[in-house]
Symmetry: C2
Subunit: 157 residues, 2 copies
Amino acid sequence: MSNNHFRRGELYSVINGMASIAVARRLQKNFRAAGLEITIEQWSVLYHLWKEDGLSQQELCNRTFRDKPSITRLIDNLEKQKLVKRVASPTDRRINLVQLTDAALELQHITIDLANQTMNEALEGVEKHEIETVKSVFQRVYDNLMGIAETTVDDRR
Amino acid sequence: MSNNHFRRGELYSVINGMASIAVARRLQKNFRAAGLEITIEQWSVLYHLWKEDGLSQQELCNRTFRDKPSITRLIDNLEKQKLVKRVASPTDRRINLVQLTDAALELQHITIDLANQTMNEALEGVEKHEIETVKSVFQRVYDNLMGIAETTVDDRR
DNA sequence: GACATATAGTTAGTTATGCAACTAATTTCA
DNA sequence: TGAAATTAGTTGCATAACTAACTATATGTC
């Protein structure tokens, strides 16, 4: 283990605190201001489908880091809004392939622009090398907690 | 505005992504493993009361960065678990002062130890100066988004 | 003093999360 | 081949978030 084992607990509220919440709220607000009804959680699912359409729900669990019930309900809501549809896999009857509708395809550029704009607002005055440090620290944190034989997010049951 | 306005949108998932979720889940898991029933959200409220007991609900909103309904229900649940009680303010009948019970006072050391331990797991191998950079970037992000005449979290209505 | 405004807190509705328990389909392997 | 184990997805329950609308109390101003 590393050598500085003291009073790091307060750092929880750095990694998972006001800044993260503020960014999420600002992105949601910018979506609404643009007349978009989607939540950022729904957007994060669409984001992965824009990169690769027709993923299974399980694959969406893996990529969005959510559990299966969460994905089930996110897909339910996205389906209600006619942004995706569930299509039975031709090869495995257990699997739903989630496919984007034309309406969802139209959202791609505007929402990604809004995300870029939001992060530019958030990171105003932050240096590139600082961003790189944040990225590498967060990658390290993720590896520390999810690596090896630790709890995985899916298939705990 | 700053000069690097391109493709920062993906950074949303750095600041608000897998690492943050992994840390929250690990802390919750460590609470459960120690036989503690509280959620990390409840813990964050207790945390502020340990620092200063008898805060009003509004003051807890300000300090925990949550809105009033969220605090109402967190206090409801904490009261059910007999960890806090609402006490009418003697000077202003609108105000509830939230006071810790003995049971809550007993949780302080063990939960803070668990938070320290969790963050040590998470930050294994991360250098101090890197942590300082993360802190300063997050402070900057918070200031960028919450400063000036922007949306405040409370009293939007 | 009375009316308008502001503040503290609650309630209702929608979305989302995590856990546990469940069904249905597929794979493993004796 | 057929029973056991695994995998994909859904449902139920509890907690929590945000928005909007509400009640009650306090303050400010004419």
